[in-house]
């Protein structure tokens, strides 16, 4: 857990801030803020050790609405700013709040590199598949063909799936949640905070103004049980209103099957292994899309691997132990220095 050396009992009130939250009424971001404020006390992290860093966009106003240390930075650059904060002081619990434009477009490079380095930071990626703050242009996650202000004839670009990119970048923790399920969000956020390494939580978020009901196929009340599969480590991958559908693997692909049909029983259903060092299945799960598959929710991957700043401070300690040069005066007079007079 991040900042475990200084644990503290906190409550939701500790993270609330006076002043108005300036997201649109009905925006999914309100629910995320509330889930974060509920999750933080469960982590027992000292409130002064929490830092929220954001880029630019609607979601990136987040640090102004939560009572922690906060840094609202540059478009796309929150990952780099957060990396500097965390590496500089590993006791801090550092959270990045970003959106699909901020993280996938202008910050795409920093996004893959923070995952590759596996710095112990939590990323909340608000994915509403649209540029909200600039009023409705398509983003890198907007489905092909979508009509937006900057694609009047439909986009001709293939969208990114953030999870797919995360796996390609050696991400060690990837989860997906929806803004309409506060309990799922809170539980996953607590686990993200506990994971040592870069934790990426993709939040399927609704933009009530520019992309309303963008995720309704997944989140709609009457379809969500059949169109989502909630993954839990060590449990069979079963879903559906009647909990009668599951995933099996045939050849190199998943297949959706019905329990009780074609001789399939509960035992045939694959068990979710989020901790597997091999990310092949996590990659396949992150790519599942409607209508062939349900969309995977929950913690898709949580693999404990070596963490950047742990290795760095280990090297520092080793260098300090080994070197005869203990201060700058030692350095200046080392090697080819000589006396005159």
């Amino acid at each position: 857990m991040k900042g475990k050396e200084q644990e503290q009992v906190t409550s939701i009130q500790d993270f609330k801030l006076d002043g108005s939250v300036k997201w649109c009424a009905g925006c999914g971001a309100h629910a995320v803020l509330s889930a974060v404020q509920k999750a933080l006390p469960e982590t027992h992290i000292k409130k002064e050790n929490v830092v929220f860093v954001s880029g630019i966009g609607c979601s990136s106003r987040f640090p102004y609405y939560i009572n922690t240390y906060g840094f609202h930075s540059l478009h796309g650059r929150a990952f780099a700013i957060a990396s500097g904060i965390k590496v500089s002081n590993p006791n801090l619990s550092v959270w990045v709040v970003t959106g699909d434009g901020d993280a996938m477009a202008i910050g795409g490079n920093h996004f893959i590199h923070i995952l590759r380095r596996n710095i112990n930071i939590n990323i909340l990626l608000f994915n509403n598949k649209i540029y909200g703050l600039t009023k409705g242009q398509y983003s890198p996650t907007t489905p092909r063909g979508s009509i937006t202000k900057s694609s009047p004839d439909g986009t001709i670009e293939n969208p990114f799936l953030p999870g797919e990119l995360a796996m390609g970048a050696n991400g060690t923790f990837y989860a997906r949640v929806v803004d309409s399920n506060p309990k799922m969000m809170k539980d996953v956020l607590v686990e993200a905070a506990r994971h040592k390494g870069t934790s990426l939580v993709e939040i399927l978020q609704n933009c009530v103004i520019f992309n309303n009901k963008v995720h309704s196929e997944i989140t709609g009340k009457d379809v969500k049980d059949d169109n989502q599969i909630y993954l839990e480590h060590g449990k069979p991958m079963i879903f559906g209103k009647n909990r009668d559908k599951g995933l099996v693997q045939t050849d190199s692909r998943f297949k959706v099957v019905r329990i009780g049909e074609d001789g399939i029983s509960g035992k045939d259903i694959l068990v979710h292994d989020a901790h597997n060092p091999d990310d092949t299945r996590a990659y396949m799960l992150s790519r599942m899309t409607l209508p062939e598959y349900p969309v995977a929710m929950g913690i898709i991957r949580a693999w404990q691997s070596s963490v950047y700043e742990d290795m760095l401070y280990k090297q520092i300690q080793e260098a300090r132990n080994k070197s005869k040069i203990k201060c700058v005066d030692d350095l200046l007079t080392s090697g080819n220095a000589f006396k005159i007079g």
């Binding site: 920093h110 090297q315 700058v328 200046l332 080819n336 006396k339």
Partner: protein, 614 residues
């Protein structure tokens, strides 16, 4: 009977090593420089190498050079022209013939002077017989063959054996300059500490070169350069990039703030990153970002968390960092940005020097975005200015851009080593936990800088960011009058730094016919040329600026006392234009050079005389 070479005592001498990129000329040059420093000569060096790692062998494009100027007298530049040239092949000779003095000694590797190499160097006639070398003392040494036969016993293949050629050359130079060869030997023992066989082969080549030079009768004159009178103390030979890195370490130690360098490799700044990457024993953290932007942003994050955040780069990198510098301006965080200038625009001349990033440093950002801009002026004082840049960044809570250049960065000089405890103290404006009066934009009444409350501190939770903030309290504010107040305050904060920097010095009389004005890395050439004209009783003085924004408080005044002002810089006149905007009542003459090369003393003297006589 063998003629004995006579030893002549000289005040100064310039040696140029030139060969293929792979001939080890940079190494030999450094070795010779360190040896000269060790025996107490003053010195200044200048490596001049191509951007390509290994351009085609034997061609002019592939010539790598290293010039060193050593002296009993004070030495300020690597010298205009060489007294001794080492040319490992015809291309090296061809490229450097115009940069040597009449009567100079030229040592060539005769084994490479054949028709194949002449063709590669675009020689139409044999330069050894076409008369072009008349008047020079040419030493035709079979360096390749003698080195190969010397190193045979170590079982090296020809490629590895040829890599010790530079030590054969070094040996010759040790004899030529009457140097203790043991110093060269210990240099090799340190360099190849992990490979005893390489030490043996290189040392053998070194001694072979020495004996060869002693035995042949081709060298009529040896040089003796006595130790310089630099005063007493500890000295070393240091390059600008290394001095920069060490100055940052000193500032970190003195301020108690851990050093965090975010950097992306770029010529000619990479050595700063490399040097600090090996300083974990002094708690230095280097973060090699995925690009220039990530590197500066990580440094800003580190600074927010309480580190001395630094980023090092060159011109194209500074362009990429512009937006992030603006973020450090508005969030008022300490940040040091080191720009090792090179030839531009775009990729330009990556390995050549220029001073053309001044306007970018001053104005290359969106919005009203002032920061401190300063420049180092010698390789060794990169230490002082890196230290000073850190001090001002921390104490005034602002980004500071420190301009050095390729010439300072790669060049070296003799440096009297300071004690860290004698450097100016650095007082970070930290805040006590739970200070009830803390607000993000509360300011020090004199400096107008805000205070540095660090994440993790109790009772100081706050938020900063790129949106305009309300004065004092730091909430997001779109209020038009508040924006004006904040903009003026940020500018005033930088202007007030002028109270805490030294007055501008004039070297020479405070009144006269001509004030030569320079800034940054041109100091060595300008001071040498000005001194020489002062000796000819010309009424000429020099003002070399290190502090550019803000300018020293007395800047306007010093211009009043001269009939003419000549601003010399390695660009099209950026500092001259800056001075015109600040002190418009003066007439600023210009002398500009945009060849990727430093000023020559001869061309400066000629220009000064012309201006004085007009």
């Amino acid at each position: 009977m063998k003629k004995k070479a006579k030893i002549i005592e000289v005040e100064e001498v310039v040696v140029k090593f030139a060969g293929d990129s792979g001939d080890g000329m940079q190494f030999t040059g450094s070795q010779f420089s360190d040896t000269s420093a060790f025996v107490g000569n003053d010195l200044s060096t200048f490596p001049d190498y191509p951007a390509e790692i290994r351009a085609p062998e034997g061609t002019i494009a592939g010539v790598s050079g290293f010039q060193v100027h050593i002296g009993h007298k004070e030495v300020q530049t690597p010298g205009d022209k060489a007294d001794v040239l080492v040319a490992m092949n015809p291309a090296a000779l061809k490229a450097n013939l115009k940069w040597i003095k009449p009567g100079a000694t030229i040592i060539i590797d005769i084994d490479n002077f054949d028709s194949r190499h002449y063709k590669k160097a675009d020689y139409i006639e044999d330069p050894l017989s076409d008369g072009s070398l008349i008047g020079y003392n040419v030493v035709k040494a079979p360096i390749t063959n003698l080195t190969r036969s010397t190193t045979k016993e170590f079982g090296l293949d020809n490629i590895t054996a040829d890599k010790t050629k530079n030590q054969f050359v070094a040996g010759m130079l040790y004899w030529l300059f009457n140097r203790d060869i043991k110093i060269g030997q210990s240099f090799l023992e340190n360099k190849f500490i992990r490979n005893p066989n390489l030490v043996k082969a290189n040392v053998a080549a070194l001694y072979a070169g020495y004996s060869y030079a002693e035995t042949i009768e081709a060298i009529a004159t040896r040089f003796e350069v006595h130790p310089a009178e630099k005063g007493r103390g500890l000295f070393r030979n240091i390059t600008g990039n290394m001095a920069t890195a060490w100055g940052l370490l000193a500032a970190s130690e003195r301020s108690g703030r851990p050093l965090f360098l975010g950097s992306y490799p770029i010529t000619p700044a990479s050595e700063i990153l490399q040097e600090l990457a090996g300083m974990k024993n002094l708690n230095a953290i280097t973060f090699q970002g995925e690009d220039e932007i990530a590197s500066i942003c990580a440094a800003i994050g580190a600074s927010f968390a309480g580190s001395l955040g630094v980023t090092s780069t060159s011109g194209p990198g500074l362009a990429l960092k512009g937006e992030a510098i603006g973020l450090a301006v508005i969030t008022e965080l300490p940040l040091v940005i080191i720009d090792v200038q090179r030839g531009g625009p775009s990729t330009g001349l990556p390995t050549k020097t220029e001073q053309s990033d001044l306007m970018q440093a001053l104005y290359g950002r969106n919005g009203e975005s002032p920061c401190i801009v300063m420049a180092a002026s010698t390789p060794a004082n990169c230490f002082d200015f890196a230290y000073q840049a850190s001090r001002l960044a921390i104490e005034h809570m602002t980004p500071v851009i420190l301009l050095t250049d390729g010439y300072l960065a790669n060049g070296s000089e003799l440096w009297q080593i300071p004690k860290v405890s004698n450097l100016l103290p650095i007082y970070p404006p930290l805040v006590e936990d739970n200070d009830p009066s803390y607000h993000p934009y509360n300011r020090d009444p004199e400096r107008l800088s805000r205070y540095w409350a660090l994440p993790g501190q109790e009772g100081l939770r706050h938020r900063i960011g790129g949106l305009e903030k309300k004065d004092v309290t730091g909430e997001v504010s779109y209020d038009p009058f508040n924006h004006e107040i904040m903009t003026i305050t940020r500018a005033e904060k930088i202007e007030r730094v002028a109270d805490r920097i030294p007055k501008q010095e004039i070297i020479g009389k405070k009144k006269g016919d001509l004030l030569v004005v320079g800034w940054g890395g041109t100091f060595g050439a300008l001071i040498t040329a000005v001194n020489e004209l002062q000796k000819e009783n010309k009424k000429i003085s020099l003002a070399q600026f290190n502090y550019i924004n803000p300018l020293p408080l007395n800047t306007g005044k010093i211009f009043n006392n001269f009939k003419k002002i000549l601003v010399c810089e390695l660009n099209m006149g950026q500092f001259a234009n800056y001075l015109r905007s600040k002190f418009p009542s003066h007439n600023y003459l210009q002398f500009n050079k945009i060849q990727g090369l430093p000023f020559l003393i001869s061309e400066l003297k000629a220009k000064f005389k012309e201006v004085l006589e007009e």
